[in-house]
Symmetry: C2
Subunit: 233 residues, 2 copies
DNA sequence: ACAAAAGTGTTCGTGGTACACCCATGT
DNA sequence: ACATGGGTGTACCACGAACACTTTTGT
């Protein structure tokens, strides 16, 4: 934070002013695959997909802008949202500073608000083989999420309020692109002691129904910080 | 990324333009304590310390701006620098978007360039008990560093090119504010197999000199990514 | 009856933690 | 000789990984 000019009027002109967008990389899980929400502008060429986002001023907190982007496109009022990274992005009309956010929602409880543009869920796996403008950013965010979801129980944000352990495991297997042992997975989650047994069971399943759990957000908030032993990757 | 106006001239006025700074939280280690570099403007009240930083345009990569901030204040041409977080910061002359960076340098090899303003190293421990403008940001960055340094061997960036294991352990103990077992610490670092024995020894020490090592940056770059097992904090 | 997934314990190996003695150097 | 930190190995414990059978429900 360097010297500032003496007067406000000088300030207006002394420093460059730039345009800024807040973009959201919105993930959801359909039971099989991790999906990311992309939009297609009607006046653009086909198969040109971009992220949801909006231009912003300095009058609003960045987190609030990100929530508003999410709200406008999905109708969701509150969700897990976290700032990812900021970078300068060349655009047709000039360079823009973009603050990227990652959002996790559960798509089942919500309806997309289409709002003129075409919104569509895309498989994250498939996007690896597609070229599009924000491919690198989505990949970056996906890797970040893979790491983050192993350090914090974020998976709950991608599931309905009540979920079975099978759904949870499918989610982790999809996000981490691996297979996990069912017994060890259960053991781990029960040991965390953040699951609340609702007493209810799945229905609509063509086999023995599993128990439904909810996530104890309050308890999680209380017992976050630890971390003593040095452990490199 | 929403619709853009049809013409570039419309673009100039259609979206708000804001001022941006890139600020660096610069850490070093003096052998005992973790320090952070703060500057004091001559025309400000006493004991008003702020971070190093500069206003920036959209013409330069953010990482490059951060490096230039570092270079201007410390004379260091290349160092470990990582983007931390972006936020909107109220200033006397209006709101400013600030992109915060964390930098790690070893102060022994370098001389500070004082450049008119007063630059001074401050103990991170002591700052916990001081009120100043960027206190929260420094605390945030410090916590972030504590976590980051346990996942990646970043400590090397705070030490001279050749260092003893004692120096390294002092560093980790200072950053993590804890005591570590010497034998286990050595075992861990040797197991990583990223230390290169230089064959040289400390001098200037009033006791048996320790071996000096260098860090194998190349090997580290090659073997970064792993991470399979789910492990919450 | 059959298919499909739910639910449940034990063993083994790895890796972290705790701990004490002799060695090399400078004063 | 003495003080100071350098250098080394072993035993215990916790946690993650591997692994198979019985139970419940729907068709």
């Amino acid at each position: 934070m360097n010297k500032e000019p003496a007067s406000v009027s000088a300030y207006d002109t002394a420093y460059p002013r730039i345009a800024m967008t807040v973009d959201c990389i919105i993930f959801s899980f359909d039971g099989n695959e991790l999906k990311v929400l992309l939009l297609h502008e009607p006046d653009r060429p086909n198969d040109q997909w971009s992220l949801t986002g909006k231009f912003a001023s300095d009058e609003e907190e960045l987190d609030d802008v990100a929530c508003r982007v999410l709200q406008q496109h999905t109708g969701i009022e509150s969700a897990w949202v976290e700032q990812l990274r900021t970078f300068i992005h060349p655009r047709p009309a000039g360079k823009v500073l973009t603050v990227a956010y990652c959002a996790l929602i559960n798509s089942k409880d919500q309806q997309l608000q289409l709002s003129g543009s075409l919104l569509q869920w895309h498989s994250v796996r498939e996007l690896q083989f597609t070229e599009f403008g924000h491919k690198d950013l989505v990949s970056y965010c996906y890797k970040w999420l893979q790491k983050r979801i192993q350090e914090h129980p974020l998976g709950f944000n991608l599931l309905p309020e009540k979920f079975s352990l099978r759904e949870m495991q499918n989610l982790y297997e999809a996000v981490l692109e691996t297979r996990l042992d069912r017994r060890n997975f259960r053991k781990k989650f029960f040991a965390m002691d953040l699951l609340v047994d609702t007493g209810e069971y799945e229905n609509d399943v063509p086999h023995r129904p599993g128990k439904l759990y909810t996530f104890n957000f309050r308890k999680y908030e209380e017992c976050k910080p630890n971390g003593t032993g040095i452990t490199f990757l």
